[in-house]
Amino acid sequence: MKSIRDYSSGSALENVNKAIAEAKADVDFHSLLCLTEERAIARAKKLDDGGKKGRLHGVPFVVKDNFLAFGGPTTAASKMLENFNAPLQATAVERLEAEGAICIGKANLDAFAHGGSTENSAFGPTKNAIDKSRVAGGSSGGSAVSVALGIVPFALGSDTGGSIRQPASFNGVVGVKPTYGTVSRYGVVAMASSTDTIGCFASNAADANLVMEIMSGQDRKDMTTLPDFWRDDYAFTKKKVGVIKPFMSDSVDIEVVSRVREYIEKLQGLGYEAEEVDLPMAKYSLGMYYIVTPAEIMSNLARYDGIRYGHRSKEAKNLGEVYTKSRAEGFEAENKRRIMIGSFVLSSGFFDAYYLKAQKARTLLVNEFRELFKQYDVLVGPVAPTPAFKLGENTTDPIKMYLADVMTVPASMAGLPAISVPAGVTQQGLPVGAQLIGDYTSDRALLELAEQVEGVI
């Protein structure tokens, strides 16, 4: 893997050429849907011509292909947007480019970021960076694998219910899902508006910290962004971590639990006291998530109607068919499943029993977290119940696939920052991630803690 520091000596053009060569050598992992080679080289040459050097001067990166970015189509890994050439760039991409970073490609994902394995991509799955017979995780699988393979030192992703943390865990890289509202979502294909967050992957916590600092802060184009807090003083003063008991149970892979326990020992070595804590609402989080998220997906994906942009069915004979056939042809099965569940939970007669109830349950979850953060700086547990599973293993059973998110959705539903950090490997050599969940706006402190642990031998 590469770190940002590795790119400080070369010219921007050398860095870009190196990254593109790496990407081409690793093409069978299918981590990238396209290279934005021409634009990247042009930008590199321009940067090499002089001018102010930004903090990411000449550093190559890739974006998940649900970020609008120039140089290639933004497909969201769907047939719906297969030929969509964005007329603007995401704020996150603009901010990184303003610091001299160069986007060299668009990374694979589950279509519209619906999934946990990148197998729902309309263009074929991404393979795990360590074991090609296994999944990359998802939905930001292509971004995680691109970092794990050393194509680029960092990559952007989006995390709605675990889509950065889980693939980070499966590929042994750092993955950051920030506090809800930290990074502008302008120019990112919307999935579920109350939990969508923008974050990144990197090989180490310090690099992730820098990338997040650059991307974070208010954006007038996204009214949900919080005032910039990244440089605010925030210190963990309680020196106590809570180990989430239900996440360390017998139903979780034993090697996953062992690696996470070893990570906790390192935290103890840094002077943190560790205590087991309960999170009774955790087991209901996935139920809440698969009510609230589909409802928001159904609303957000209503815009894909074959009229103003995106796929239009050639079979449609009238306006109604333009909508229904374009959508049927442009969406993957998982997109349809979620849209239909959204229609169900919001439909007349079921709204109170499902959607409203889930939002009330969400309050109970938020309250449990609030109580825990009165006593603990950080909550710790695994990211996922297992290491990366085999390609095809969960594709016939949506619920089994959803269960891979069971440990990541609680922080998403509560809007809390959570990161996935490498915690070692299994006997088979498969990476395992530990998840650190912090209180609102403790993002930087979480990454600094992770950086301290990286220093522990």
Binding site: P87, L88, T179, Y180, G181, S194, R220, M223, T224, L226, Y284, L286, G287, M288, Y290, I291, G306, I307, R308, Y309, H311, R312, A316, K317, N318, L319, E321, V322, Y323, T324, R327, A328, A333, K336, R337, I339, M340, I341, G342, S343, F344, V345, S347, A353, Y354, L356, K357, A358, Q359, K360, A361, R362, T363, L364, P398, I399, Y402, A414, G415, Y440
Partner: protein, 95 residues
């Protein structure tokens, strides 16, 4: 709450999806299972609990009522449409 095939046909209609019979059947089965799963929330007592729709307590974020250049032209937006005619997006006949 069980869904039947006819219900999944109804949901496809609400969702603006023209599905084949086989697809309706397959998605219907999945949706049944998922709805059974999410019904787990029935175990919870949420009487008197306020719903959380938004987690950061931001509300009514205002900006000045002024025109901002979005950086995108009319031509760029029109060029994204599957069909255009005389500077407008073209759709099949409605009436």
């Amino acid at each position: 709450m069980k869904q039947s095939a006819s219900d999944s046909q109804y949901l496809a209609g609400l969702s603006g999806l023209a599905l084949s019979d086989a697809e309706t059947q397959a998605l219907g089965t999945d949706i049944d299972n998922i709805i059974t799963y999410i019904t787990m929330l029935d175990e919870l007592d949420v009487a008197g609990v306020e719903p959380t729709y938004q987690v950061t307590d931001l509300e009514n974020v205002w900006r000045k009522d002024e025109v901002i250049d979005g950086g995108v032209t009319r031509e760029q937006l029109l060029s994204l449409a599957p069909e255009t005619l005389e500077n407008q997006v073209k759709v099949p006949q409605v009436l």
